[in-house]
Amino acid sequence: MTGHVVTEVTELAPEPPPKGIRVWLKENLFSTPASGVMSILALLVALAGIRGILGFIFDPTRRWEAVTYNMRLLMVQAYPAEQAIRIWFSVGTVAVLLALSLAVWRVGGRTSPRQVGGTLFAVGSLALLGGLLGPFSTTGKIGWIVVGAVLAGVGYYLRNGLGERAKEESIPVLGAVAVVIGLVLVVIWTIELPFPVRDTAGEQVVSFLPIASSTRVPWTIIALVGVASYLVMKFARDLLPAVPTRRVLVGLWVLSYPVLVLVVLRDPHVPLDRVWSFYLPLAVGFAVVGALVLNVAANRSLGELGRVIGAVALIVALASFAFQMEYVVRFLLLAFAFFSLAAPTFGGEGASRRIFLAMWAISALLIVFFYVMATSESTVEVPGAFMLGGLGLTLILSITAIVASFPIGLLLALARTSKMPLFRIMATTYIELVRGVPLITWLLVAFIMLPVALPQGVSIGGVMRAIGAMTFFSAAYLAENVRGGLQAIPKGQYEASQALGMTTSQMTVFIVLPQALRAVIPALVGQVIAIFKDTSLVTIVGLFDFLHIARAVIPGQSQPFNFLGTFREPLLFAAVVYWMFTFTFSRISLRLEKKLGVGER
């Protein structure tokens, strides 16, 4: 018998009798006199809160047009409009990758009409309440109340009117998401928002214009392309081999970010003649010659000589910094030293050897490619230091910092849990010192001290300084998270790998890190949220990130429209945008936590 368990026989627990609204109220609000008093107080607070928030948002003196007019500034700051297609391309790429990944990893389960109904009912009731309490005109009130009542009614029907069917998990979550995307598209094509205009006398007045009038075409296209690529992958995923497809997608994700930022958004002017005469031969030469040497160094019969090759390569790489040469050569030498040190332990034999050599060749080519891209002059002409500002800069700061801090944090965590006392002390000192002092101090250090500590002729732009400070800051926190995962690995895992003859580095790469990282994924997502929120601190050192535009640029605007002193509206808008990002991530973290069973003992 091969474990086919017959589940149909299992009897469902008898359903409790449906409860009336009075029973519900009694159980949940008025179970004791004290609870009743608390309920009434809390209800008053809630009503006052709703009334206050709506009163604030729909107050006729609110100047929301300051936000709508400056939307582009908030998103990308001064990125030239004629090159905006590059931004749309980047957003579209991310959307397509996201859609493909959702399909390939089969994300998204099903939900029941009961749950959808519950959500609709809550939203509808809130709208209804808002209509009753909000400072609207009579038509406005009626509109809110009608929409709220319809939503609440539909929700109530889905929840309670379908009987047993309401509990079946029949609605795909992604389908619901698609409906929401569709609704958003409808909204940006129909609803109008306040916008500043000049009347015939040249006075600044507020008129109503469609939302996103200049960007709704690209948004629609992106949404449709995303949905389409999901559908295509949904049918194709059964034809494709699962594991290689996932690997290709992961590779695309990893590559997409530097390519989008360095190549697509920067649009560098590449010196083609120099590429042909110098960079390409350099890359190919390193790839080929390096592969030949690595092939020798990985040979088992070589014994200790293999390690000698690695040591020599390391010395050469370090020595290269003492001589005059292009940085790309130094980087290549460093990468080669790294690979040749790894060759005796990770070189393998047969297919594994070929993969190892191919990884080296690809790394060499990528190093040269990204070096050329990063050092070529950008053709995007932006007044100011960095091409992107606003939300774009916030995203670039946080993604770069979190990605760059990952390897450092990993090394620090390994050092802190190492058996070697000096490594442990160095790592502990670093981690505790960095965590003990607030981030703003490190940002100030990076902006005030770093410029004078660098050798002459080397200067680092403001954005890079902020990224550097945030990277080293985040690495310390990341290290503590990873340490938690490392400590959770049973001692037997180390012993088994040692008994099999693995070296420390093999044990770390094959056994320890995969298990440790899996255990700390939710904590890492938490770290991403923290870094995303912390990027807002760069506004203090004068970078034009999302918060800085909302809090300093817009309220300081007097031309072409006057928004002087308009602080609260842009800040509230920014808060909502930040919230949407972090809330999404925290939900993802919760889901992962449940899925991986972390936190359950």
Partner: protein, 515 residues
């Protein structure tokens, strides 16, 4: 045929595991130090070219720094300006910690409440506050306060509470003559109350009669405070004692302080090493010490000696005082201690007044058409309000989650066991659930307190004069970036060490209770 056991084979150095480990560690250490040395040399070279040489003279030099609020708004020296900043940081930090703990605990419990609407409101609070950057929230509170009505001549008068765009005034208490003698009564009440409560506790254990030991402690303190309220002038007789202690410290040769420091650090190291060896002792003699053990011993001894040397170096450091004369740090420590006792003695000589008096905010006309709060009550400036509200609300959302998690983490079996023993709900909460939840809550709570303290540094964004803001101002005026950064680091590292020491202390106490 057998293989003979020969003499130990000699291991070549390049294959010796122990040797290689130490080579790797020392190699990386040297590489890092070299990197720092290179950067440092470059920095010094660049600074020398720009004509700035790092030093600590700015600490005693007069500054032109004006500070908007704090214990001294126009400090006469760098060190005094920094002190004002530190006190401001601690003011926001400590009051924020208290408020955030209360609010966070309430919301955390609300999140567990069976009451539907309380539960939902708590959830909404947590999810909305903690998902928005703190800096944005601080800016928001600042913006909200700045649109409050301006103070005009119509507002002149005394209030219980007054909100305006110059800040919030509210009625508060203020210490008066007799405060310190009265405090001595209160402290005595706490000490005596401890004995009273212990005594009554013993009675309860012996006879089974309920004696309310906690309540009796509280009552003792109240009695002492009440008596002290009227009796404090008697303590005038203690004033000469304080002055005597002060003159003792003044007469002590300054070299005593570094010597005490050196003896303490070397003694501590010796004690540690002795305990360590003791812990490794067996009936058969000492066990084998591993590399790691030896390293610890050497490191402990080395740190002891280094700290001793450091205490002499710092003690001999000459500073220029505000008065203009030069004095070593050791001398200044002696003077400082003596001054504290003198000041104490003087405050015991006062005979008029009442220990604590109420005080209300007052709006007055300050110069031509310029209306503002006067000294009365407590006035919360707009920057203080923004930073305080921001960090308090923000931290409360994290504390709420910690409290909720801590209570949920107490196993259900504990509740059932307590119920089975017949404890009442209030009893089992107090005696069973809370002590266990507290132990789980404490370490992350300490972390949040630390975060709150560090987050007060965002005051720089709303021009609240805390340590980082004051430091930045000094730095801009003097160019002394490295020393100022070192001061920041010293301040925050001390703070975090202090908070973690307190948390560790309580943690250990809890652990002992557990066993």
């Amino acid at each position: 045929m057998t293989v003979e056991v020969r003499e130990h084979q000699k291991t070549p150095l390049w294959r010796n595991a122990t040797f290689l480990k130490w080579v790797a560690q020392i190699g990386v250490l040297i590489a890092l130090l070299a990197l720092f040395a290179l950067l440092g040399r470059e920095a010094l070279k660049n600074f020398n070219q720009s004509g700035i040489s790092f030093g600590w003279k700015w600490l005693s030099d007069p500054t032109g720094v004006d500070i908007r609020e704090g214990i001294d708004t126009s400090p006469d020296s760098g060190v005094r300006a920094l002190a004002v900043g530190m006190v401001n940081t601690l003011r926001v930090g400590i009051s924020g910690i208290v408020a955030a703990t209360v609010l966070g605990t309430l919301i955390g419990i609300g999140r567990l409440s069976k009451n539907w609407i309380v539960n939902k409101l708590s959830t909404i609070y947590i999810e909305s506050i903690r998902n928005v950057p703190l800096l944005l929230q601080i800016f928001f509170w600042q913006a909200m306060a700045l649109v409050l009505p301006q103070l005009t001549t119509d507002d002149v008068g005394t209030y219980w509470f007054k909100a305006s765009n110059k800040g919030f005034g509210l009625a508060w208490f203020r210490t008066d003559g007799g405060f310190w003698p009265w405090m001595l009564f209160v402290v005595a009440g706490i000490v005596v109350g401890r004995y009273v409560s212990r005594y009554r506790h013993r009675i309860q254990e012996e006879t089974g009669r309920i004696t309310y030991p906690g309540l009796s402690w509280f009552a003792t303190v109240i009695v002492f405070a009440a008596v002290g309220w009227f009796a404090w002038p008697i303590l005038r007789i203690l004033a000469p004692v304080w002055h005597g202690i002060a003159s003792f410290f003044r007469a002590l040769p300054p070299i005593v302080y570094p010597i005490v420091g050196a003896i303490a650090s070397i003694g501590f190291a010796v004690l540690w090493i002795r305990n360590f060896f003791e812990s490794r002792r067996t009936p058969a003699g000492f066990g084998k010490l591993t590399d790691d053990d030896w390293f610890r011993v050497i490191f402990a001894g080395f740190s002891g000696i280094a700290l001793a040397i450091v205490s002499f170096v710092i003690g001999g450091f000459v500073l220029t005082t505000v008065g203009g004369d030069k004095a070593t740090v050791a001398e200044l420590i002696g003077r400082g201690i003596a001054n504290v006792f003198d000041w104490f003695g003087r405050s015991f000589e006062v005979t008029s007044g009442s220990p604590i008096v109420g005080s209300r905010p007052e709006v007055i006309v300050k110069g031509a058409g310029f209306v503002n709060f006067s000294e009365g009550g407590v006035v919360m400036s707009v920057p203080f309000f923004a930073i305080w509200t921001g960090v308090t609300l923000y931290t409360a959302s994290f504390i709420a989650e910690i409290v909720r998690g801590g209570i949920l983490a107490v196993p259900k079996g504990q509740t059932e066991a307590a119920m089975a023993l017949g404890l009442r709900r209030s009893q089992y909460l107090r005696l069973v659930i809370l002590p266990q939840a507290f132990r789980i809550i404490l370490p992350p709570m300490g972390n949040q307190y630390l975060n709150l303290m560090k987050n007060t540094s965002l005051g720089i964004a709303v021009a609240f004069p805390e340590i980082v803001q004051v430091g930045t101002t000094i730095l801009n005026q003097t160019g002394q970036s490295l020393p100022v950064v070192l001061v920041w680091m010293g301040f925050f590292v001390t703070l975090s060490l202090g908070i973690s020491a307190i948390v560790n202390y309580y943690n250990r106490k809890m652990m002992i209770v557990e066993r």
